[in-house]
């Protein structure tokens, strides 16, 4: 029950700490950049030797049957072929995803354990610094698919019109949707009130259908399915420029986007500032379904695992298996994925002061 009031606010102690964190994350960015540069293609024979008789475990942070499970099941047989190891899937659904992350982050130097999760969820958990984990605790191996967020809402809401000043959103967690709702709304100069505590994306969408709220954030894949099954519409895709999969849908950032339309009467400098904010919202709300390994994994083992993962994710066999069970695929190599992580961490650090202010204003 809150409305994020704006940019103004005093520097709290927490905020000062965040500035230190920001400096620390800048150092981390340098480390990650160095790590990504140091990744070398390993010799096939070396990897075959390393994988012989070993077992790779893919940890799914949810109960069986969900989207990540279906991705993992599509990956497993292909990865077995690519690596020569046996691959098993383990479920660790506790702690809102933290249990799986901790399990992978704390794996030993010789343990071939992978986490399948969203980049933004993993990095957000690491950013909060819980459980003595940091950005350096895990390393990304590759991305299976990138899906921007979208606002799915009641038909007839025109976000491009400056007349649309205030909307109510339904969300499961206000904090987790900070970028997708509050940051985007801030860029749009829109008052977005968030009703939080719904029990998942189906529940948040049902709230819109019942007329309790005006819109709900959802991944574009989910939003498209919902729009096909109901009277709701995709109000906006949180992308920079038109998103290729839905070229006609309104988008948040870039020329011709919602922010561009709503800020038409503002001075150029202010418009640019809002566009930057919109880009930040896009970066922080776009979820990439990715694979991670522990940063303590021996470099040779990591390189082999990354190579096997890349072979798997780029293969037709994986694409066919995933698409057959309704999972979209748009893979990314480990190097591109590392670059994505670096960008996301930079965006997180940039948004940290606003996020802290938002958290400080939160009262039950």
């Amino acid at each position: 029950m809150r409305a994020f009031s704006g940019l103004t606010g005093s520097l709290t102690q927490e905020l000062i700490l965040r500035i230190f964190n920001l400096m620390a994350s800048a150092a981390m960015l340098a480390t990650l950049a160095a790590q990504s540069g140091s990744a070398q293609t390993p010799a096939t024979a070396e990897c075959a030797e390393l994988f012989r008789g070993q077992r790779i475990t893919i940890i799914v942070p949810n109960a069986p049957g969900g989207g990540y499970d279906l991705y993992a099941r599509s990956i497993a047989p292909v990865l077995e072929q690519a690596s020569g190891s046996s691959v098993r899937i383990s479920y660790n659904s506790g702690g809102g995803g933290r249990a799986a992350l901790v399990s992978v982050a704390e794996a030993g130097a010789d343990e071939l354990v992978m986490l399948i999760d969203s980049t933004i969820d993993v990095l957000s958990m690491l950013a909060l610094g819980d459980n003595a984990l940091s950005y350096g605790s895990v390393r990304i191996l590759g991305v299976m698919h990138t899906d921007p967020d979208a606002w799915i809402g009641r038909a007839g809401i025109d976000l491009g019109s400056p007349e649309t000043r205030e909307l109510v959103a339904s969300a499961s967690s206000a904090e987790a949707n900070f970028a997708g709702i509050n940051l985007a709304a801030l860029a749009m100069r829109l008052q977005a009130r968030v009703v939080s505590g719904y029990s998942g994306s189906a529940d948040t969408t049902a709230a819109v259908m019942r007329g309790e709220t005006d819109f709900a954030p959802a991944s574009l894949t989910t939003a498209r399915k919902t729009a096909a099954s109901s009277d709701l519409e995709i109000l906006m895709v949180l992308s920079e420029g038109a998103y290729p999969a839905v070229p006609d849908a309104p988008y948040l950032a870039g020329e011709g986007g919602i922010v561009w339309q709503r800020s038409a009467s503002l001075p150029e400098a202010e418009r640019a500032e809002l566009q930057a904010l919109a880009r930040q919202a896009v970066n922080l709300s776009t979820g990439s379904r990715a694979l991670f390994a522990s940063a303590s994994l021996r470099p040779a083992a990591f390189a082999c695992l990354a190579a096997a993962t890349e072979t798997t994710l780029m293969s037709d066999a994986f694409r066919q298996a995933a698409e057959a069970v309704g999972r979209p695929v748009s893979p990314m190599t480990a190097r591109d994925a590392e670059a994505l992580v670096v960008r996301t961490i930079a965006a997180l650090a940039e948004a940290a002061p606003l996020f802290d202010q938002f958290r400080a204003e939160m009262k039950p």
């Binding site: 049957g65 899937i89 479920y91 819980d130 206000a174 939080s196 958290r359 939160m362 039950p364």
Partner: protein, 655 residues
């Protein structure tokens, strides 16, 4: 109407025609596997089935997934009745009376009754579903947070009718249930609450872990060489028969139908699970009964109500997915994926152009429910014989099975720690005569009530709820008022003052201390502790304080007047199992589940060996074999990756 009949006929034909009928039969068998192999969850079977059925035609796929959705529900009740182990969370309410019936020599009646109630509930749920299908979309949208909150309050209000020897104890345990249900993230701010830095508790205590602890482990403690319970359950009581069980459902036809209505209603509301349905129905059975003294001790009505409700819910639970494309559960997510893969678009098409496919799914679910019930009735005599096993001999295997099951729920050791904690709590509740049912109802409904209250308040503050426009809320509110009025007229509180005993303060003081710690933590405030949380925890402190104070004064006064000697708080026969169970969390943390469980087995067996070397050797061998089996099971079947035990982590650090 004609438009409806032909898709309806086609749906029935799709299910019953040869060889189509084999598919739901196969699905039913597949759905039953997780009931016997707890390492393989129902969702895992369904997830494997998604990949296996990619090339199947749509009708065959719907037949299989309809059966998978409905098949597993009833089987969970069999283990609840026979062994006090709920096969799943929604079958937990059945054990409240089903297990006492089995221990009292009426296992056959209980199983047959559960199976019949389950089948009738399912038929009722499907009939209602067919009747409301044409106008289901607007109906589904009638149930928002306000209606869900009121539904939860209705369930909670039935606690008034649950038999208790002391109303203040019932209030105290209800508050305790509500407090423990709040552990985890605050529903509005997502900030951790009373997790004491343990991120694994972010999602709160697992409901199945609570049930396994509170009922199963608490019971097993008193089984080892017990002098208080008979080592063998009595032989079948006169009148214990399958026929009696089947007939009982028809004798209580009103209760069966009312419970099925509750189940169907709960099923239709997206996101409300079978656990809520079964406990609301159980509470209703208690409140509507003339003589409620047998509830919790083996009243057959306590078996009928939850069973009829849970299976009636199955049909309704398909609706949010079919009519709106909204999955309210893991099963719903899988079904939505399956529909998408095979080209179905949930929403209006499933209710119009694809209506025959919708009916195919519904009838496959119905057939599966009926098949499992028939199987239950047929197997009742054989299954009932299992209660003839000597409970002091099955205690240890059941203890091991319970601990392993609880670890593999989410792959978290914290679930084992919680189950042991709830086991201790349940044991002392039983020993000191504190009512257990209000605690469980409050625990199950607590989170549901809080989250929906919180959402309703937020929506109200934004002017997004207009109570005058919520007819369903008015209907549920009227039901609550009527049931409270009915209960208050019918059941005058006959508080039986417990005899002065050290047990009253001995139990109330630690509970008060724990509630006090929670209250003090909440005082630190922050976004995690809402007004609701503070109100509940401080109310708990006050009520427990009153009980502790009154109990202490009455005990001291009785001592002055020369009261009879106090029996020991913990019976001698229970001390070893209690100690072994109490040490499990430490041992598991230090050494890991296989070694900790093996050590427990070794001590348990060697304690009865009277130092004879042969027996000690056997104990050591059985312990080692158990440890190996547990390690193999957790690694190879449950495929868990558990954290490295502290002792081995320390060793690794040193060397």
């Amino acid at each position: 109407m004609g438009d409806l009949i032909s898709p309806l006929g086609l749906g029935i034909f799709n299910v019953l025609s040869w060889p189509n009928i084999l598919i739901p039969v196969l699905g039913t068998i597949l759905a039953m596997i997780p009931s016997f192999l707890p390492g393989i969850g129902g969702a895992s079977v369904a997830a494997v089935a998604i990949a296996a059925t990619l090339t199947w035609d749509p009708v065959s796929v719907l037949l299989l997934f309809g059966a998978l959705t409905g098949g597993a529900t009833f089987m969970g009740s069999i283990t609840a009745i026979l062994f006090n182990i709920p096969g799943n969370a929604s079958s937990a309410a059945v054990l409240l009376d089903g297990y006492p019936m089995a221990r009292g020599g009426r296992a056959r009646t209980a199983i047959a009754c559960a199976a019949t109630a389950s089948a009738l509930g399912s038929v009722f749920g499907v009939l209602v579903l067919i009747a409301i299908l044409p106008f289901v979309q607007p109906l589904l949208l009638q149930f928002g947070p306000l209606e869900k909150f009121l539904l939860g309050v209705w369930g909670l209000s039935t606690i008034i009718a649950v038999p208790s020897n002391s109303p203040i104890r019932a209030v105290a345990v209800t508050l305790l249930g509500l407090i423990l249900a709040m552990v985890g993230a605050d529903p509005e701010t997502s900030r951790p609450r009373w997790t004491f830095g343990n991120f694994e508790l972010f999602d709160g205590f697992n409901t199945v872990a609570m049930f396994l602890g509170f009922f199963t482990l608490a019971e097993i403690i008193s089984w080892r060489r017990s002098y208080e319970v008979k080592a063998i359950a009595p032989g079948p009581e006169a009148g214990d028969s399958t026929r009696q069980g089947v007939l009982a459902v028809f004798r209580h036809w009103g209760l069966t139908i009312r419970s099925a209505v509750i189940g169907t209603l709960v099923g239709v509301i997206p996101g409300v699970g079978g656990t809520v349905a079964s406990f609301v129905a159980y509470g209703h059975a208690v409140q509507s009964a003339g003589d409620r003294s047998r509830f919790g001790k083996g009243d057959i009505r306590g078996v009928i109500a939850p069973e009829a409700a849970v299976d009636a819910k199955d049909g309704g639970s398909l609706l949010p997915v079919l009519a709106l494309g909204l999955p309210g559960s893991e099963g719903g997510v899988i079904l939505l994926t399956v529909l998408g893969i095979h080209g179905f678009v949930p929403g209006t098409p499933m209710l119009t152009t694809d209506l025959s496919f919708t009916y195919t799914l519904i009838f496959a679910l119905l057939l599966s429910n009926i098949l499992t019930s028939l199987l239950g009735v047929a197997l009742a005599p054989s299954l009932a014989r299992l209660t003839r096993l000597r409970i002091d001999r099955v205690a240890l295997p059941m203890l091991v099975a319970s601990l392993v099951t609880v670890v593999q729920l989410n792959g978290l050791l914290v679930d084992l720690y919680a189950a042991v904690g709830f086991g201790m709590l349940g044991y002392f509740f039983k020993q000191f005569g504190w009512p257990r049912v209000p605690f469980v109802i409050a625990f199950v409904l607590g989170g549901f009530i809080e989250s929906n209250l919180n959402l309703s308040l937020q929506l109200f503050s934004y002017g997004r709820i207009a109570p005058q426009e919520r007819p369903a809320a008015w209907v549920i509110a009227a039901i609550i008022l009527l049931s409270v009025w009915w209960m208050s007229r019918r059941f005058s509180v006959r508080a039986k003052r417990p005899a002065p005993s050290l047990s009253e303060p001995a139990f109330a003081v630690p509970l008060l201390a724990a509630a006090g710690v929670f209250a003090l933590v909440s005082l630190r405030g922050g976004a995690a502790y809402s007004g609701y949380a503070q109100l509940i925890v401080w109310s708990g402190v006050v009520v427990l304080g009153v009980i502790a104070l009154a109990g202490s004064r009455s005990f001291l006064r009785s001592r002055e007047t020369g009261a009879p000697t106090e029996p020991p708080i913990i019976a001698k026969a229970h001390r070893l199992p209690l100690l072994l169970l109490g040490l499990q969390p430490v041992a598991v943390w230090l050494l890991g589940p296989p070694i900790a469980i093996a050590a427990m087995v070794g001590v348990w067996l060697s304690a009865g060996s009277q130092g004879r070397p042969g027996r000690l050797l056997i104990a050591a061998l059985v312990a080692a074999a158990t440890g190996l089996a547990v390690a193999k099971y957790l690694d190879q079947i449950a495929m868990l990756r558990l954290p490295r035990p502290a002792f081995f982590a320390l060793l690794a650090g040193i060397f």
